[in-house]
Symmetry: C2
Subunit: 145 residues, 2 copies
Amino acid sequence: MKADMHMQEAIRQAKKSLSEGGIPIGSVLVKEEVAIAAGHNQRVQLNNPILHGEMDCLTQAGRLGSFHDTTIYSTLMPCYMCAGTIVQFGIKKVIVGESRNFAGARAFMESHGVEVVDLDLPECISMMEEFIKEKPELWNEDIGK
Amino acid sequence: MKADMHMQEAIRQAKKSLSEGGIPIGSVLVKEEVAIAAGHNQRVQLNNPILHGEMDCLTQAGRLGSFHDTTIYSTLMPCYMCAGTIVQFGIKKVIVGESRNFAGARAFMESHGVEVVDLDLPECISMMEEFIKEKPELWNEDIGK
């Protein structure tokens, strides 16, 4: 599959984080096909362990009241923190760039009725692969290992 | 059971949030029996949907490297967002004030090997009960309903 414009923005967010010395994972929140928020991992930049790409994106979105009619994009399959957030917020659909570098919590989300689409994009795969090879300690810290 | 000093601090955090016009849920992170961070729900105060009490507390903790040797206290049973975070971060023990007003994701945490202790404290129960009665819209927004 190809990256649509929202995934392209998520990838741009991931690259922005990388250029800041951070972890290259980006996310976009979409409502009625319009991007309403974007964010990227901020662990390094803000010294904040909870700000994965998806969580930073939801922080940027602010209080929408309800997230039930939104779709979230992420360059990588969500971990349990982000998946738990998606389930609790009632976000119905998740579109990810890849899951080869991190299998994440796909089954957990699906068991709660979330639709998960994995685009398996070479650009996302190589971006994470190179980062994990270069900074394994930072990556392990990010996934709680 | 009684509230130990860490739960007392979590309750103090919850009351602080209430006095600020926020949602009365507080949290404390403990390492080797010493409180290393505390926080409270910041949805209203910071216009931030991800800052439940536990998430604010982990934000205050910052990058510890590993959370495997920490225990987290919360005045209320964690939702899927906070439970997913606890599982992903490898936090081994959760001590909550109550779960009567919100059953939360106890089974999910336990299925991932997290020890969950519910103190069932009258003070925590009445605090949430009164808040939910007074501001049901805000409470429903907080749990994604």
